[in-house]
Symmetry: C2
C-alpha cells in the first residue's frame, strides 16, 4: 500500500489516517516494531518532523508506544485496535450517508446505488 498523499489537506493529518489504517488492517501487526521515524519519513517522502508529528498523535491515542531507543511498537491491545477500526468504519458510514442525503438521495436509492456499484466491481 502506497502513501497516496494529496495536497488538498495537511500532510500530517493524512499520515495519521494512513498509520491508523495500517494498524487497523494489520499491516503493522499488534506488538510489532514500527520502522524508525527516519525510515517511515523516507518511505512516505516527507520530512521526519512531519512524520514525527503524526506518530506522536498515534501515541496519544494509545495505538503506539515508545521504548526510548529501541523504537516504537504497535499496541498489543487488540481490543483498542478493533474499537478504532469500528470507529473509523462508522465514521465512513456517517460521512457517506450524510453526503448522499445532502445530494438529495433517499435511503432506498442509496442502498440500491451501492448494491449496483458493488455488483459492477465484482464482475
Amino acid at each position: 500500500m502506497s502513501w497516496e498523499l494529496k495536497s488538498d489537506r495537511p500532510i500530517y493529518t493524512q499520515l495519521i489516517e494512513q498509520l491508523e489504517l495500517r494498524i487497523c488492517s494489520g499491516i503493522y501487526p499488534p506488538g510489532s516494531r514500527m520502522p524508525s521515524v527516519r525510515d517511515l519519513a523516507r518511505e512516505a517522502s516527507v520530512n521526519p518532523n512531519t512524520m514525527q508529528r503524526a506518530l506522536t498523535r498515534l501515541e496519544e491515542d494509545g495505538l503506539l508506544h515508545t521504548s526510548r531507543t529501541s523504537g516504537r511498537f504497535v499496541t498489543e491491545d487488540i481490543n483498542l485496535i478493533n474499537q478504532t477500526r469500528n470507529k473509523l468504519a462508522q465514521e465512513q458510514v456517517r460521512i457517506f450517508l450524510k453526503g448522499m442525503s445532502d445530494l438529495g438521495f433517499e435511503n432506498s436509492e442509496i442502498l440500491s446505488i451501492l448494491t449496483d456499484t458493488v455488483k459492477e466491481w465484482s464482475i
Copy 2:
C-alpha cells in the same frame, strides 16, 4: 443548511463543495440569481475574497455565470446540474467503498453494515 466550515481543510475548497451541493440539491434553483459575493461571504462568515475564489471556480465549471453588475446566476442547463450531482454521488460511493475496503471489510459486510445503519436511522 448552515455552512459547516471546518479548519482541517482550506476554506475555499469547502465553499466550492457547499456551493456545488446547494446547486445540485436545488437550494439555488436553475436560472436563479445568487446572493452577491458580499452577502454570501457575510452569510458564511468568510472574507469576500475567499468566497469570490470559490465562485470563480464554479464559474469555470459552468455551474454559474456572471452578468457584470446584476449579479451571478445559476446555470439553466439542468443536464449539467444532474451530471454534476451524479458525479458527486459516484465520488461519495467510490471514497466510501475504498475506505471500507482499506479497513478490511468485505463487500457483503459493507452492505449489511449500511443496511443496518439505515434501519437504525429510520427508527
